[in-house]
Amino acid sequence: MSSSLSALLSGTFYENGYDHRVEIIHQRDAGAHRRLESLDVALYDGNGALLATPAVDPGLEILDLGALVRGATDTRERVMVVLDARYDEAIFPYRPHHYAYFHRAGSTAAPLYYAVNATLGGVPDRVGATNINNFETYVFRQRPFAETYSLLLGCLARFVPVQAQVFAYYGSKRVARDVTLAPKCHAEIPLPAEDGGERLARVEVKALFRLLSYVVGRRAGTGDLVLFDHLFTYAK
């Protein structure tokens, strides 16, 4: 491996029925010189089983996750998609950014755009980052716009499970839940929208080390995603 290469391990979740596309390189220049050196993609089911490692051209601009997952697996369950990129730090002084879009076919819900969660790397020595990023939080709007809320968590560790605590806040009340995920396992953690007449105001994820994490909201009945966002680093 060249010492000039940097690495970034990002991840997202694909759900059946969605048109879901990831912009592999957001900072593309006019000459398209900005490209990854390599991109390995791996698909995992909720129990951490490796479903497939489909080949992807690292020069690709837009990755169609639906076509990728349907072409590589028969599953209709949620799939954790792991993007393992190598890039030249002279081309991407910080890191390449992956942005994504999805929309369920036939849904009246608005398409959602989001930043793909960087889980390993992306904070190289040269940036001098000092803030811890394994304590994360998300503040909900008080006017409800989704019927159900939850966290999608994935463990990208290779050898050891991750223990995390999820805290949901309702007014002055805090509801805690322990979560343990084995390597490459993923789970959806429900967050009740109300508790004791108080609306869900905030959620925190505290883990020994960083998880792949998104906060999501779904419509009642259809389950259509109307919120899919990363949490924010917890800072005092």
Binding site: L5, L120, G121, P124, D125, A157, F159, F209
Partner: protein
């Protein structure tokens, strides 16, 4: 011309190529070799596990497997 491992050279252990720390680019093989030589942490790689924190659990596990009494 002979290609392949030099006489006496160690074959890579399984997993040696695994990238352990995505921030400092330390592989599992480099960590194992450094631990065997009593040179962990490697010079210039002192921040391994301390930046994005995503590999901390794996790092501690691998260090302990290598006989290093590691903790946070």
């Amino acid at each position: 011309m002979t290609t392949g491992p030099r006489a006496g050279a160690r074959e890579p252990e399984p997993g040696d190529e695994i990238l352990l720390c995505y921030c400092t680019m330390v592989t599992l093989g480099e960590l194992r070799a450094a631990c065997r030589a009593g040179q962990w942490p490697l010079r210039g790689k002192e921040n391994t596990g301390k930046l994005c924190t995503g590999c901390v659990g794996d790092l501690l596990y691998c260090l302990r497997q290598c006989g290093v009494d590691a903790s946070l």
